[in-house]
Amino acid sequence: MTAYFIQAFIYLCAAVIAVPVARRLGLGSVLGYLIAGVVIGPVVGLVGEETRTLQHFAEFGVVMMLFLVGLELEPRMLWSMRNRLLGLGGLQVGLTTGAIMAAALLFGVDWRIALTIGMLLALSSTAIVLQTLNEKGLTKTEGGRGAFSVLLFQDIAVIPMLALIPLLELPELAQAASEMTSQVAESHGHLDLVSGLPNWMYAGVVLAAIASVVLGGYYLSRPLFRFVAQAGMREVFTAAALMLVIGIAALMGLVGLSPALGTFLAGVVLANSEFRHELETNIEPFKGLLLGLFFITVGAGIDFQVLAQDWQLVGAIVATVILVKALIVYLLARIFGIGSSDRWLITLGLAQAGEFGFVLLSFSLQNNVIPADIAQLLALVVAISMFLTPALFIFFDKVLVPRFENNEPRREQDVIDEKGRVLIAGIGRFGQIVNRLLVANGIETVVLDHDARQVDNLRQLEIKSYFGDATRADLLETAGIEDADLFVIAIDDRERAVELTALIGHRYPQLSVLARAFDQIHYYQLKQAGAEFIIKETYLAALDLGCEALTRLGFHPFRAEQLKRTFIATEDETVESMYQSWISSTDSGMSPGYRELFMQQEAEIRSAMQGDRSDRHTASERGWNPPPKGYAEDIADTGADTGADEN
């Protein structure tokens, strides 16, 4: 037991040190994990053979990652980017696979191995590229969008690749492997439902398993999650989320399919679910840790002797891969009309091999598709090309961008920018109306509510809303608070509304908070917590009703309207001093000052309304007062004719 603790400690320690350092150096977390692995493995030698076993376990992180990829794939979004996705992404993967396969064939590699190499080197690093684009604020550029659609296609393409690779098994490798493991297999007894079945039954079982994932995900998951959510226990929801992913992975394993395929499918099915953000939040840390562990084991497994012996070969392959990938992306970007500096961004950004390369590599190794020595070489190639990515981005920033800025006349700024994104916490009677107004005007909103029944009702009305406790920082992150422009707080818990306002002000100071207050005191609390705009929920409605009452009592409707506005204006003027007084009264625990001020405000409103009839400018009539009687003679004296005919 102690040995396990020590090992776990070494891995965690390496990650904790290396990842933040790598991120600070602009290398990204994937490279950080790889470096950590290299350090504890080949360099220091703290860990050894057990990394192999650990890697199989850590691969479950990939399964979770594909589940999350699936969750992100909303059919509507896919449809809107279908041209770029299939065109740019499809051609990139197809052409690169073909080109690299052809190159490998030239060197006399078996076609099955060549195809596998082509596939695994065609993929780029989603993690590094998206993170770098995010950090540089380039995601919304033409090049950034192009890169995103290519990466998305690659992520999806991993699924068919995982299905294809076992079919490319090399007979001689398989034989050797089966001899090695036969004793082990006999004692274990392989867990498999389908090994003895005839083909037609096998097909039936596979179809049934897939159907059960899709239908179960669609019809059973919601009642289940709702049931769990109503218990209100956070860890039970986490357990349910894990249960779902592991259960599907197990089912797929039993019928001999890729667990990644199954969880990816389940993710897609749940992409529209109201529990999507909550699921993401719960799975994300597990995925992050396991994937990190996976990359550490990859780093630990890198054989530097290979590099030392064949550094020329490795260098040549890396250079060729980067050149081939860059060339193909450049040509495609040209065909798809991505201009000048954006074209270079996408070209250099996608030129590396990526983390899925490692996944496919270890998967091919298990399936006896690639011999171990070639796998070692490829792992080096993938890792080194990833290490070079930051350098390519620096080259783009320092060399290419300045050149284009000089050559191109600055395009005039687009007037209509992308419309903002709004997060709405609480979708009860108040938040609902806010949301309807925004959505009706094409603004993207993400709505969160902690009441699963409420969310369910709204979904039936086709209002896009998600289950979750908006006061949880991690849920806010998965809901996309980083990209949000506004945050609307309309939750029905007074204290939590104030807490949430303070939390956002603390963590995301650039984000504006618009909050609903229940009453005057709540208004002050929210103001103190940092809300930029606060409205008392009853205020305007009550004033409208009061205005209607005045009208029915014989006031002219326009006069009643003016009186109402005067009321608002007077209260607006005193709000700051009332607030200050409230702060000092809460500090001292006494409130006489506040009460006095309230009475004073009432008096001010009354005098503003009625005013002194002899005063020319009563506040409520300002601007609509006629000039004094007899003013016309006064003006005529000056020789001008009167245009003011307001009497």
Binding site: G623, Y631, D634, I635, D641, T642, G643, A644, E646
Partner: protein
């Protein structure tokens, strides 16, 4: 000597504006210009009289910038006149706050220039149609300048007239700011456009 210029910009549907918005934008780039987007500041028409009067006190040149609606200003600019130009402030025995200032309209009109004459379907020239504003200025003791107008504004972009119009406007503002304008000529002209060369004279 230099003048501070207050532009009261009144356009109720700016998301569809093709001429007024570029005019407003370029105006902001000129020094000592204060641009007030009335529909933005008072979307509910609750004009703050005190604030608006203070603005008038602080500027020497007042510009009404608007698209012509029924031969007059958009409603909010009329509301502004009704509320802000109070007796005792702008006119009347003690109302001398605006005396000596200059007032100018920068307008866009849908009809062609041919329509705005006795023989055209609008029967009156643009200066004649804007007489109420001219007389308001006179009563307040202000110097009225003829309007700077763009006709056929709906197709100005397609006709390639926008760029020159905007650039001329910038030069007018510069000259007004530096007080390098020929008022004698301007007093007689129907539009500022027709005496532009003389008006801005020596200035850039």
């Amino acid at each position: 000597m230099s003048n501070k210029i207050l532009i009261l910009f009144a356009h109720p549907s700016q998301h569809r504006s093709e001429v007024n918005l570029p005019l407003a934008r370029i105006s902001e780039s000129v020094e000592q210009v204060t641009l007030v987007d009335l529909y933005s500041e008072y979307p509910d028409y609750c004009i703050d009289i005190e604030r608006e009067q203070q603005r008038l006190r602080e500027h020497e040149i007042i510009v009404f910038m608007f698209p012509l609606y029924w031969y007059s200003t958009p409603a909010i600019l009329k509301e502004w006149q009704d509320l802000v130009l109070e007796y005792g402030f702008a006119y009347g025995h003690a109302g001398t706050e605006l005396q000596g200032k200059k007032l100018l309209c920068a307008i866009t009109a849908g009809g062609t220039e041919d329509a705005y004459r006795a023989s055209g379907y609008n029967h009156y020239s643009i200066r004649e149609l804007l007489r109420p504003i001219e007389q308001t200025a006179t009563l307040c003791g202000m110097t009225y300048l003829p309007p700077y107008a763009l006709f056929g504004a709906r197709t100005a972009v397609e006709d390639g007239k926008l760029e020159a119009h905007v650039e001329h406007w910038r030069r007018i503002l510069e000259c007004l700011r530096r007080d390098q304008v020929d008022l004698g000529l301007a007093a007689r002209a129907d539009k500022l456009n027709e005496c532009l060369a003389e008006f801005v004279g020596s200035a850039s």
